[in-house]
Symmetry: C2
């Protein structure tokens, strides 16, 4: 049988058909236009689902289930998206709507970061592994936790918000209202802010040459300038790595997953990020006497992780 995974993003809706080997065999995409009513967005989700089935040379009868990865908070039991601020969703009965539009009974919904973690655990870097944490270093710090092969979502499906655990008591304000969250130090957004601050204090740093203007600074700027030997950028990256390792070590001490994988924009730095990260974590982790240790690896599936994970959702 086949399964459909849907990545419902703020910019695009992507639906894909997955075969039993977790291969994507048909895909369809449409712009989300997030300011529309939920009903119109779900009509387009159904349309992309049918288009993906067609692209795979199948019919909807060949499809066992449809899974949706969405931003925001989801009640997995009722199939209602409780709240998603970047889609203007407030108590949207996602399962009910998509059931009416597709005729399929098995419709599952979960948070997009959770779906990405499940995708990596089932078909990506953690294939065959029962315990995995996937971290995405992008606009925020996204996270999904797989324990014993299942997503850890907590009693109200709002868990795994690892970006919103404080690592700097009384520190930088976070979008969530707390101060000092890991996300406020280790997201790409945070690194950009740290880079800009350093540039304003040093008009000679190569970060100026690389970015052109301060508005053009990205998550790569400090890493690129460091590779060119710039001391100010090097100091920015070292400090960033220290925050990142602090949060990652916290997760290792709490979960001791077999694999902790890192993706997202900053994750694209690859071994230039992961090698020093492994050094810092190994020097700090609590489990010094254990023979087996968490492996810190790059995420493997990129954007497909969320789609494959969504397709693999079940009750």
């Amino acid at each position: 049988m086949y399964r459909i995974g849907v990545d419902l993003g703020g910019t695009n809706i992507v639906s894909a058909v997955i075969d039993e080997g977790y291969n994507i065999i048909g895909k369809a995409r449409v712009a989300t236009n997030a300011d529309r009513p939920a009903k119109a967005i779900f009509e387009d989700i159904a349309k992309t689902a049918f288009d993906a089935v067609k692209a795979a040379d199948l019919t909807m009868d060949d499809v066992e289930s449809i899974g949706i990865g969405t931003p925001g908070s989801v009640n997995k039991e009722s199939g209602v998206i409780e709240y998603a601020n970047n889609l203007n969703f407030d108590k949207v009965p996602a399962r009910e709507m998509l059931n009416a539009l597709t005729g399929k009974d098995k419709i599952y919904i979960d948070n997009d970061a959770n779906c990405a973690a499940l995708g990596e655990a089932v078909a990506g870097v953690g294939k065959g592994v029962r315990d995995l944490i996937a971290i995405t270093l992008g606009t925020g710090v996204g996270a999904g936790i797989v324990v014993g092969g299942k997503l850890l979502t907590g009693c109200n499906y709002a868990g795994a918000e690892l970006g919103h655990t404080v690592i700097v008591y009384d520190g930088e304000p976070c979008t969530c209202g707390r101060k000092g969250c890991w996300e406020a130090y280790s997201s790409a957004t945070a690194l950009i802010a740290q880079s800009k601050r350093a540039m304003l204090a040093d008009p000679y740093t190569k970060m100026w040459d690389i970015a052109g203007t301060i508005d053009n600074v990205g998550g790569r700027t400090s890493f690129d300038a460091m590779r060119q030997g710039d001391p100010t950028a090097t100091a920015v990256v070292k400090k960033y790595m220290s925050y990142l390792a602090c949060g990652v070590t916290n997760l290792v001490n709490a979960f001791q997953p077999e694999i902790l994988c890192i993706g997202g924009g900053i994750g694209n730095e690859g071994e230039f990020l992961l090698k020093p990260l492994r050094r810092l974590v190994a020097a700090q982790r609590y489990s010094i006497h254990a023979e087996k240790q968490t492996q810190i690896l790059p995420a493997k599936l990129g954007n497909d992780a969320g789609i494959i994970g969504a397709a693999m959702l079940d009750e």
Copy 2:
């Protein structure tokens, strides 16, 4: 059938027989004398197990399994206690030794904080609940995590070290080698250090009258002085509550357990501790849109939690 639970502590060894209703129906105790070789300690564990069986008017044939809660790190698969510094244990083959001494095949071993969490989840404040975190505020910050009815211990059984997650980047040195661990701010030991520091800065605080000498300061001193209206002690407790709430909110955001229970010496403050803690966590947690929220409750079983949890261990 009946089960035996063993609490192997630095001071005492306590064995107890548990019936199917999780009642303790026979108990035996002996001093650990932790400076002895592991062999002598395990002979006494076996002796207390037989004594507990006798006290319950049973024989060892009535016993299905023996579970041990031990400090330190345990390989649950091999049944070896890998390391426990306060018992001078280094790779002690606990299962093998106790099997030879008792003739029982089903011998299970886990960390003592994990056993206490399992006990609270199975027979205590979390009876009937699938997801629970138990925190013990004592010499350190002990923690055990139950997810889906099972202990979360990680790939190397060294997980759930929630006391060793940093909440104050570059903060107070912790016994584990990191700086700023939750344990270094929220254990009874930390509160005592915070109280002493405040006393040295204020020779008029009632904490002096309550404690007599600075060496006599305990985990209750600041709470007692606050109840008498002392402003310095009140400031100490408020700050302590803020650190405690920071760590608890981190756990709520990460795990969203149905119940988070608090025990240990500081836990004895009861509602005087829990009521303000609930206020601070409710104001900070990420899950504002969820209908269901983590309940913060007092641990119920006290020292018996670890024994009952040990008895309930299985593969």
